[in-house]
């Protein structure tokens, strides 16, 4: 079940990765940008981990674990001899401390909600307790976690960055600045950080996994326009442009066989969708929502982003377990859409608003959507706003339609449940929640809860159940799933390692721990 090391791998060498945006923080309890996500993964470890390049769980800092029959008690046995970057050995106390820390309100962790199934979560989050009652240190190397309800995704949660194990003394030392002075158990440690310019990771010689990492270090250069990064890659100054191939250069790169050979393509756990607010007329009519679903020309939108995606039929991306094979979704059919509108008594169409985040290519996609809607008589005015304003409008339920791009759901972990709760379930439909279509169906919610109460996350019945959930959702059509973005990672010629490492579903853009350089 574990990863087979690459026989060709050679240790040594530094690589350079570039990013446009500055790295906000490297605190695993705080960091929630896709860009620092993989960095934090390399600096820290959680009890659980994924097999590199896959979505398969494997033990991380836990050597082994046991799940009680009712699925509510997890007992983790820690790997012996794991050391933090500061040289101290990791213990069960650290596990408890880390989980308490991420859930305590003072930390303001955006990931705290993931731990809601641990017993005592409510108490700690309303401030009546300062520790999670469900997390117990049994022995110095054993932790027992008790859940308040069965949670099939719990092991995935324990593999999230938010569940990374941090040393208390380092957190105490740096306080809120821990994110600038991270200390973990990961394959790399932070060597240098010049704000706005550069971060340097150095190999952790004491890393607990044998043989890795191969690289001596990674230099991240930030503030680099993707275009500039690509130009520099072409000149051999950069190994991996972290923001990917800029759309403007995509065709040039793919048109040149030499360069195209260095591009790795892969799926990712992403869906781009339009939310249709079921609380706002006339989108409260099912026919209208169906009509809109039928009106969108997904092929065309895919073309606009240079075919770097595949049209979507349902909320789940194809590589996600639980994806319903053979389901065609709503086919592009403007005439049918018009008929549906007429059915709803809106033969003359109507006027609505489409919110979109204001960074390229989202306004462009919104304009394509706008044109498609116009074809069936629906006038959608575009509200292109900063991310925060769109989220605000969506949360408040003011936005009839939102194109999710830029704020969209890249799964936190490879489990179908991750696409439901906050964005399609009743829990997120309240004021301020992320369920922007404000779609709430008690029946579907109950099914989802049931599916998540199963112990084995990959049990076929469970996946079937999730598949049914999403099919039911599609019947109600609160979303227009538009496309699933593909990942294209470009690398310099000297980069080695399996292709899957460059499209690692949980480590974007690449899995730093396992790639190597060939020269």
């Amino acid at each position: 079940q574990d990863y087979t090391p690459d026989p060709n791998a050679t240790p040594g060498g530094m690589i350079t990765v570039t990013y446009k945006d500055d790295v906000a923080t490297l605190d695993p309890a705080i960091g929630y940008d896709w860009q620092n996500w993989s960095m934090i993964k390399s600096l820290f470890d959680g009890l659980m981990d994924y097999v590199p390049g896959t979505t398969e769980l494997r033990p991380g800092l836990a050597e082994s674990y046991e799940i009680s029959d009712d699925g509510k008690t997890f007992t983790f046995t820690l790997r012996p001899g794991v050391k933090f970057h500061n040289g101290r050995e990791m213990t069960a106390e650290d596990v408890k401390y880390s989980l308490d820390r991420v859930t305590t309100p003072a930390t303001q962790s955006p990931g705290a909600g993931f731990f809601a199934s641990i017993a005592g979560f409510d108490a700690i989050s309303d401030g009546s307790a300062d520790t999670l009652s469900g997390v117990e240190v049994v022995e110095p190397a054993t932790v027992r976690i008790t859940l308040s309800r069965p949670d099939a995704t719990f092991l995935h949660v324990m593999a999230l960055n938010f569940a990374s194990i941090v040393p208390k003394e380092a957190v105490d030392e740096y306080g809120s600045d821990f994110g600038k002075h991270p200390v973990g158990t990961g394959a790399f440690k932070l060597d240098e950080w010049t704000i706005g310019q550069r971060l340097v990771f150095a190999k952790n010689e004491d890393f607990w996994r044998e043989g890795v990492p191969y690289l001596d270090g990674v230099t991240f250069e930030v503030g680099q326009e993707p275009i500039v990064a690509l130009l520099r890659l072409q000149q051999g100054e950069v190994d991996v442009p972290g923001d990917g191939i800029p759309p403007a250069k995509f065709q040039e790169v793919m048109g040149d066989p030499a360069q195209a050979a260095r591009v790795v393509e892969g799926g990712q756990l992403h869906t781009g969708y339009i939310t249709l607010n079921v609380g706002i007329a006339p989108l409260d009519k099912l026919e209208v929502r169906e009509a809109i679903n039928m009106a969108i020309n997904k092929e065309r939108i895919t073309q606009i982003i240079n075919g770097r995606a595949v049209p979507a039929t349902q909320p789940l991306p194809p590589s996600m377990p639980g994806y319903t094979e053979g389901y065609d979704g709503y086919a592009y059919d403007p005439e049918g859409a018009k008929a549906k509108l007429a059915e709803a008594g809106l033969a003359d169409g109507f006027t609505t608003e489409l919110y979109v985040m204001n960074t390229d290519p989202n306004p462009r996609i919104a304009q394509a959507i706008q044109q498609d809607l116009k074809a069936i008589g629906v006038t959608a005015e575009i509200r292109s706003l900063a991310q925060a304003n769109v989220i605000e409008a969506g949360g408040a339920g003011q936005a009839p339609m939102i194109w999710s791009g830029g704020m969209a759901w890249i799964a936190d972990f490879p489990d179908p449940s991750n696409f439901y709760g906050p964005i399609l379930g009743c829990a997120g439909a309240g004021e301020g929640g992320w369920n922007w279509s404000k779609f709430c169906d008690e029946g579907i919610d109950a099914m989802a809860t049931e599916a998540d109460s199963m112990t084995d996350p990959s049990a076929p019945e469970r996946l079937k159940m999730w598949s049914d959930v999403y099919m039911k959702v599609m019947e109600e059509a609160p979303w227009v799933p538009v496309f699933n973005e593909q990942r294209y990672t470009m690398k310099s010629a000297r980069m080695g390692g399996d292709d899957s490492l460059y499209v690692d579903p949980v480590s974007i853009p690449i899995n730093y721990d396992y790639v190597y350089v060939t020269e």
Partner: protein, 306 residues
């Protein structure tokens, strides 16, 4: 002088107070909730309320403002909502780059603008003058980002004379400075030309020539300091206009200045950062104006600071 400085500093402090207040109000009424950004998408309502309370965002605006101010006077600009780091340290890390770019931009603007203006004035009425003035119009009308991209493309990508974006060496500074300064240089060359034409008409220039001084000395020592006076005041005003250009140029050239910091913060309503950046740039503008006023008497002894 001391009295003057004192009064100006008090005035400046009041201006900054006003700026901070207006910004605070604007951010307060902005339809975006920072807590949503902090809490993340899977947060429960409870968590959201907790965070709101912790940050004091559930209090009346004036109370929030008063708290911010009291922190500010103790030198605490607060912590970033999303990065949790001290705003002061974030700004401090990026300010040098911004100041450097600003200095580069202003230097470029002045060097190009003033020298072209002087040349045009000396050749006034001839073809060279007219050519230069049309050029200056073009410069004034040229969008900074187009200029920036063009420079980047021609001099960095095609010719390879300069690095493609980035920060660190003098070579990195050249293109962004030009992109930033080119608009102002057109403007200054026009101002300089008319100031210079005016000064060259003055009696004291004739006196200087009647003394048998060399042309260079007449122009550099006698005409220039007089002609530059109206321009110094302009530089003070200019800094405000500059700030806008910096955001664009920083983004084109990947320059690690506060413009990029501000842009990211605005996208995600990281209010402490926005406040910090606003105050820092306001301070730069205020100080720039003050500096211009203080420098003037050194060039023109007729002006007394009172």
């Amino acid at each position: 002088m001391a009295a003057y400085l004192f009064r100006r500093l008090v005035q400046s402090a009041l201006i900054l107070l006003g700026v901070s207040f207006i910004t605070f109000v604007l951010l307060y009424v902005l339809p975006a909730d920072p807590v949503r950004q902090i809490a993340g998408r899977s947060a429960t309502q409870q968590t959201v309320e907790n965070i709101r309370h912790q940050l004091g965002l559930d209090q009346p605006m004036l109370v929030q403002y008063a708290r911010y101010l009291s922190g500010l006077v103790q030198g605490d600009m607060g912590r970033s909502y999303l990065q949790k780091t001290e705003v002061a340290s974030l700004i401090a890390a990026r300010l040098p780059a911004s100041l450097l770019l600003m200095a580069g931009g202003i230097a470029c603007e002045l060097v190009i603008g003033l020298s072209l203006g002087v040349i045009a004035a000396l050749w006034r009425g001839r073809a060279l003058d007219q050519g230069l003035m049309v050029t200056s119009f073009v410069a004034v009308s040229a969008p900074q980002f187009v200029v920036g991209l063009l420079l980047l493309y021609v001099f960095a990508v095609q010719l390879g004379w300069f690095p493609i974006g980035g920060y660190g060496t003098f070579a990195h500074l050249v293109l962004p400075s030009i992109a930033l300064g080119i608009m102002g240089s057109g403007w200054y060359s026009r101002m300089m030309r008319s100031a210079m034409v005016e000064v060259l008409r003055q009696d004291y220039i004739r006196t200087a020539r009647a003394k048998g001084l060399t042309r260079a000395r007449v122009i550099l020592r006698h005409a220039l300091p007089n002609a530059i006076l109206p321009i110094i005041a302009m530089i003070g005003i200019d800094i405000g206009i500059f700030m806008g250009g910096m955001v664009v140029v920083e983004s084109v050239f990947g320059w690690p200045g506060i413009g990029q910091l501000a842009w990211q913060a605005i996208q995600r309503v990281d209010i402490p950062i926005i406040m910090g950046v606003t105050l820092v740039s306001a301070t730069a503008i205020v100080l720039g104006n003050l500096l211009a006023d203080i420098v003037t008497p050194f060039i023109d002894p007729r002006i007394k600071l009172r």
